[in-house]
């Protein structure tokens, strides 16, 4: 798991850190890169065809096998990746390549698609917004499409797939009448649609900042801009590879994807382009904001300087005049004049006014 916003200092290493233990190991050694969670792995099987639909939470991989054997469509969702033995069993029973297993566990994978002979493997990034911590959480989802089954691996239980589950159970839409490839598409679609929600959250924050930046720029503003910028850099990293991934999925070639589903994947492709477009737009706006911030601060300083200059201009003649007549020379004729005092006061005022109006004309104030 990876938190973009909340724990600043842990942002970047968390993508990379656990790698250390992997260097030099034989390829295909499944090692889990990520925080080890104490919760148990949760395996949910959803088995359906147009007529019936069965949902079951199982404990072991072996319990899944009868479902796979049936001609119905079987969706097995695995929450939690830390139990390597379970995963290796999946690998064995579903005939998954060791490199594929390694990729599932290596949760800092770049989104990609791999076409193995009898199944299609897709790695995606799931973005979630943690309202409480005001943070974007990036998680890895691995999807495997086999002949009549779909496997989905998540780092931890998330409810993003719930609408699909509901549609299947509630027979909403035609999903029950399509094949496993349509389920595969639907899972990708819901992940991509979720991106829009995250982008909305970000754009809300940006919108909130826009006025602040020009009117009352402060240190926190700077921190939020920096955090937004880093967020968007990470979201870009998660989103850009999707373009090629889904394009390859559409142009397909895989026998597992039917022609009808391709049309829907084309639709996901359009959404992906739109997500990328929006991310780039947000990036441009946030980049611009930093320039605005800098200009705004310079502007404020300029105003403060003007105030200082005005004050100096007013005060200085007064100080000079009062300084002169504060000297203790025995022979200072003005000191004896009856109009000496009011004259000095008037002089102060006069010089201040002359200076102020001169600077005003020059446009310096």
């Amino acid at each position: 798991m990876f938190q973009v916003v909340q724990t600043g200092p842990k942002r970047i290493p968390s993508i990379l850190k656990k790698r250390k233990k992997k260097v030099g190991l034989p390829p295909g050694t499944p090692i889990f890169i990520g925080r080890i969670k104490t919760e148990e792995i949760k395996i949910t099987v959803l088995d359906y065809d147009e007529i019936k639909c069965e949902e079951k939470e199982v404990k072991t991989v072996e319990e899944c096998l009868p479902f796979k054997a049936r001609p119905t469509i079987t969706w097995i969702n695995i929450d939690g990746l830390h139990d390597i033995t379970t995963l290796e069993k999946f690998g064995e029973h579903f005939n998954l390549h060791p490199l594929l297993l390694e990729d599932i566990l290596n949760t800092d994978q770049r989104p990609k698609i791999d076409d193995y002979e009898n199944h299609l493997y897709v790695v995606l990034k799931m973005l979630n917004y943690n309202e409480e911590r005001k943070s974007v959480i990036i998680e890895q989802v691995s999807l495997i499409l086999g002949e009549n089954y779909v496997l989905s691996f998540q780092e931890r239980p998330e409810d993003v797939f719930d609408p699909i589950r509901e549609r299947i159970k509630g027979k909403k839409g035609k999903i029950r009448s399509y094949g496993a490839d349509h389920l595969f598409y639907a899972l990708i679609d819901v992940i991509v649609d979720n991106y829009f929600l995250i982008l909305e959250k970000l754009s809300e924050r940006i919108e909130f900042l826009e006025e602040e930046v020009v009117k009352a720029p402060g240190t926190e503003t700077l921190q939020i801009i920096h955090s937004l910028k880093t967020n968007i850099i990470f979201i870009r990293k998660a989103v850009w590879p999707l373009r090629e991934l889904i394009s390859r999925l559409e142009r397909g070639g895989s026998v597992l994807i039917q022609a009808e589903t391709s049309k829907y994947i084309r639709d996901v492709y359009d959404h992906t382009i739109q997500v990328i477009d929006t991310v780039e737009t947000l990036r441009d706006i946030v980049s611009g904001m930093l320039d605005i911030y800098l200009s705004s601060i310079s502007n404020k300083m300029n105003e403060v300087m003007k105030v200082l200059t005005i004050i100096a201009t007013i005060v200085i003649p007064m100080t000079v005049v009062s300084g002169i007549y504060g000297m203790n020379f025995q022979l200072m004729p003005e000191l004896a004049w009856p109009i000496g005092y009011p004259m000095a006061l008037s002089l102060m005022l006069l010089v201040a006014i002359i200076m102020l109006s001169y600077f005003w004309k020059k446009g310096w104030l």
Copy 2:
């Protein structure tokens, strides 16, 4: 102030916000993303061939069908997208794919072209300049070209298609003698031509800013630059995809576009390139402006600093001298000198002049 969508803070979310209710729904579920308007949907039919021309405002989709059945060219314009039932009826009678219907309603679509078997679907962005609110409004227009009909869907009634309507009714140009594909072209053409008007408005504002930025940069200048920048980012987003869209339309392949019309579409393509060119030029100029702004402010501050330094330089010797002779030591021989006072005054002047001329030589002032 100058804004893309009327209210600044809502600028960005308004592109994205309503998506929330869509996530997880079956594909092809038509849901209207956009502000729901209270006005009624307005359907206008314009039916013409070289000989006669009939215009009629209808209430229901069924009333359009007789026109479609005739060999004449039928243009059905729909203003307002919030009545989903009406749209679904169109989908039914005109045999539109559910994904297409979804795209019409999803008003934050990226401009694109989809070639369905018996019709061609194009999504475009219409830019309008609201003179009163000084804002650019981005609206989505969907155009569908069928064998002898064109459907156009707009979010709300706009008069941008009026010139076409006039040309058809007034038999101006040869539009009446061409097919539905020419009408399709003409609608795209008028939308693209409209972009030039918006760019003119923007360039007028830019031109107005150019002098201000160098001579009198202030907080509002900053706000206008930021707003212009954001505007151009959004216009780019609307305009760039057009390039590929119209290029694909020209290179065609669609049997619905005749060779003669292709020549005209080539012309629209040239305009599109020119629009993109101009948008990029404006973007470069506005980007440069922010740099100029920052430099200009630094420059102003520099001048203010110089004034402060000049003042300090003049005043300081005076203060020092008057301070010294303001001390109350019993044994200060100068105080008793008759020329003490004028000497002190001369000293003040002298030191100030020496310092000023020294700094002047050094180029610090």
Copy 3:
């Protein structure tokens, strides 16, 4: 000041403004976009073959037709585009497509090449430097190559084609022995060669600025940099499309261009690349200048600040000491000391020297 089109504030709109009257008109309606000039259209015919050469200024299009009919090469140059009737007559007699006529008149066209069946149409931008107004003027030139004739349309009389005219009349070079395609090439070549002159003017200004920016940056420097930047943006816009244009001309395919001429067009292509290269180089240098400007100003401010700090450091101990001994307490023993006064003066000096040397060591001054 140095500007693209004579009056700064009108720089950008002038490219776009007159479009307004075009929106919604039937395609191919020739409308002149540009400043309407009061002068008359000037038509010059130059008819030549290897043996003889005839130059004539004519009043009407019809007078040109006999020249066109002859087997000799006929170059018809038209200065001024505001008389639409004359242009329409050309269209008629030379069999020009309405869209082509529209393009000739639409003087904010992007440089492009169009291959009509019996003629080749090229739009170029001519850059001229108005020495008096210190401004670059961008004008559109349309060139049409027919079987044995070349038509050239200019917005207003310019002398850029004069050297060609001289070469033809004076039989310099082999131009008289080549076909119309060579004349066509020669006209393009002279326009591209002219770009070098403009770039020289710009680089002279840049060279002049380079020292100023580092040594004495001021408000005007900023204005000139901004103006140079905008100039280069516009020149880029005029020059970049040339690359593809001339490349297409060279790779040809057009039967109107002979193999021998292709070799020369390759040469123009090399020049175009060089022009683009130089424009990009100038752009990089001018962009860098703004950064230098900003740094330079910050630098100057820093120096001013140091002067202020030095002054403050010297003056402050003096003020404090003189302030203390200026107090009127009855019991201030130092006041009665005979060495009180010199001691106070020495104290002032001492503290100032200590502070100055301390700050010096710290590297603050």
Copy 4:
């Protein structure tokens, strides 16, 4: 401090310097570009097949030849490149092209792949992090794949290949059952995996900086940012060419790489893309940091200015009032008033409060 090659000022020349002696020499003259080390060259032979495995440190090239002659897989690792005679002997016995030998010695080579007829030559950069000196060290590794042997040339002994050695000797994984191409792959893989460790080190430093930049930016912060930036520039230079290199290795064509190994190379390719992605991400973050730094400093200065203004505002009325009543005019009626003194004090306070509250309202403070 954190540097690419141990001593900052020598960072860049060290890549280039020794070239001087090469200019104008005949091609294929092997000259060692790099620091000449005093240690001896160390040659290690590891000879294995599925059954047995022999490791031996040899002194001369000739001792290696018997291993090469056997059908087993032979890995010869050479640490140290300064002994040109040894290298030339390798060239002779292993039939290496003079240009290849030159490339091995020229240690500022760009990563590349060369396909000679009977062997494959790959140049890579090895990144090492020197914990003690806090520096990244870039070293060149040359790998040669022959029919049943692999040669690896390193500038100096490093332990990066140790895990591979262990796997072979310990029979971990299936490496012993594969051919020389798999060993070749494994060496490349371990080098690429090592990049992740370096990127982790960098991201740890970046993470550490992120807070510092906003909260307490100082001169060292600037130095570290600059050093990080330069580091990343050099790492990019080492990493980017890998993409094409490994892609070419995968798409192969070389008969020396078996189909099975290609699958694993595909895996290395994915890692390479991920490394590049991460480097770009770090680059974006570090670039952004400098902007944040600048903004942060401007921000701090703004706050300091405000403090100065507040102080000035409070003090100035006091100075003026006390200045006025410090004048020595004989006729200053207030001086004789009993409430003169408290009145003056109150006046001071009052004016200061009025000014402060005025500026506060204006938002200047």
Copy 5:
């Protein structure tokens, strides 16, 4: 000739200036663009085969012809381009196209390759570092490869080709046993190798700057950065086109280049990529330096501001207190107190300490 560093103001025009006299001239008119030198043209012939080798300095073109006629390999080097008649004679005797002659003389040519039927023409830029003037000098070299001869044209005598000459005369390497194409390659190779020397000089300067920029940024630093930046812009311009040029040479097609030589040209290609890589790296570093410079200066100013604030904070309470007790009110009870004076002094100190510690806590100092 073109001086990058030394004469700043003449930097840019010198690339372009002399063009003026060319505009409008017939194509293929050889006109020398460059400074006309008074020295004579120097023609050196080096004629060799595997057995013998003859070097001779000749006066006229005709003297070269016997060498060309022999089956041996003839290298004719021409230093100085100002004598157009000589060049035209070369054109005549060696059958060179007029456009080629024009290109040789036009010394601001972009590096390019032209394949004429019986010879290959290459234009390159030679970079030389003038140690005395601390300037990079860009000169144009034209190389022509014919069947058994190579012509090289340089603007002025340089010793860059001397190592080749030595190798031929001294029979070092195998150059004598190869054909004219190998000589052609060797000349290109030595020019490209020379680039590394220039890049070293630049990187030495950069390295020298790196510390200065962070620690003691001044006006000269700025000038050097600007000059380095401009240098690199010009070197890029000279170097980038090489990539395509040499790639085309390698992929060849020309019958004049033998297969064996292609392998060597591949090596030059690798060097070119490396040169480009290094230039880009230097560019990135220099660009980053300007940002560092700006940040560094802001930083310095910040520190100066803090010093000012500290001073102000200490001094101000002293001034205020001494001002108050310097007033001349008749009724100021404190003045009569015996502890008045020490009390006032203590008050001054106390307030200063309180303010300082308060600001310290706030982190303003």
